[in-house]
């Protein structure tokens, strides 16, 4: 099977290109597939606050909807550069015959259970754009076309589903695209385990191959250690630490 990963990285306040190179290295090591790194749209879509950063961080996250065109592979994993692969779990998704897979459940590393996030006044279920696995089927083509359309008309969809129009989120655009392409019904196929997030309120320390993650639980400092697990690392300070590793 001709499979590979597409990683988007646009440098701004954070050197995503450095993260993307490390992400590509890990994709090859753990999944045994090649990667291409694409520079996303340079347009600043919005700014966002992170708990670990005083100033707002510029957010350049447009252009993911071009992943199908940008991918030279028959089956592709679309990855955020800040997704830290440390296992071969995603191989099972590459071998699946489902056209399009993304995470539907998520669990913050300091949370007690996986949850499905909902957004907007209609409490629409969220599908995470952090990791997507897709083929080149008609359905996938439709999903990316819809994703592109929603990105282009984000304000309209934000008003329709009543969510924040000023802060573009690929997760919302993807969720609505999947909803549209499933005829308004909830998609049934997803990556069958939760996306593990390390939130910006946590502090990470990498002591290979173990992550020491510190956080506050009821104002009390706590920590856990994890290894060989895929993590989505959030927060400017934590991401800078990852950049410094390489």
């Amino acid at each position: 099977m001709n499979a590979g990963a597409v990683i988007y990285a646009t440098d701004g306040d954070i050197k995503y290109s450095a993260l993307a190179k490390e992400c590509a290295r890990r994709v090859e090591y753990y999944l045994g597939i090649p990667s291409v790194i694409k520079t996303g749209s340079d347009t600043v879509k919005s700014t966002r606050n992170w708990a670990d950063c005083d100033a707002k961080v510029q957010w350049r996250n447009g252009g993911r909807c071009n992943a199908l065109v940008d991918s030279p592979y028959e089956r592709t994993i679309l990855l955020d550069a800040d997704f830290w692969i440390a296992s071969d779990c995603l191989k099972s998704c590459l071998d699946s015959s489902e056209s399009f897979l993304a995470h539907n459940t998520r669990m913050y590393i300091n949370e007690d259970a996986p949850r499905i996030e909902k957004f907007g006044a209609l409490k629409t279920e969220m599908w995470w754009a952090t990791v997507c696995v897709f083929d080149r089927s008609r359905f996938t083509q439709d999903v990316f076309d819809a994703w592109h359309m929603i990105e282009q008309n984000y304000t309209h969809y934000a008003d329709l589903f009543n969510f924040d129009r000023y802060f573009f989120r690929n997760d919302y655009a993807l969720s609505l695209a999947l909803l549209l392409c499933n005829g308004g019904e909830r998609p049934t196929a997803s990556i069958p385990w939760p996306l593990l997030h390390v939130p910006d309120t946590c502090t990470v320390n990498w002591q290979q191959p173990i992550w020491q993650i510190e956080y506050l639980a009821n104002q009390t400092p706590r920590r856990i250690a994890v290894k060989d697990v895929d993590l989505h690392v959030m927060g400017k300070r934590n991401l800078e630490k990852l950049c410094e590793l390489h």
């Binding site: 099972s92 071998d95 300091n110 049934t188 069958p192 400092p221 706590r222 856990i224 994890v226």
Partner: protein, 104 residues
């Protein structure tokens, strides 16, 4: 040495319950596998289903995968892969669980 950081780190107690929860999610993820175009969760339920089919002479049954897609499978192959993966990951889970218990 930054003594403030050091004392804060010593105070930060290892959260055994949370580590256990994360470990459970990690190994649940590792128990998923793809075969014959379907996606499966390696565990007693799947192994029992395969055993039931084989016991009744249904060697190539149609079974629903975790996405509720009906998939025609080789029951013997599915059972072998499910059993191997389940035991391999349960053993790894056990080892890591014991390591975590020693953390302070």
């Amino acid at each position: 040495m930054d003594t403030d950081k050091l004392s804060q780190r010593i105070r930060a107690r290892f959260d055994h319950n949370q580590a256990k929860r994360v470990l459970r999610e990690k190994y649940r993820a590792k128990m998923q596998f793809a075969l014959s175009g379907g996606m499966w969760h390696a565990g007693p339920e799947l192994i029992t289903q395969c055993n039931l089919c084989l016991a009744h002479g249904h060697f190539n049954p149609v079974m629903a995968d975790i996405h509720d897609n009906p998939v025609k499978v080789d029951a013997e192959e599915l059972k072998t892969q499910a059993l191997e993966r389940w035991q391999e990951q349960m053993n790894a889970w056990h080892v890591e669980h014991e390591e975590l218990r020693k953390q302070r």
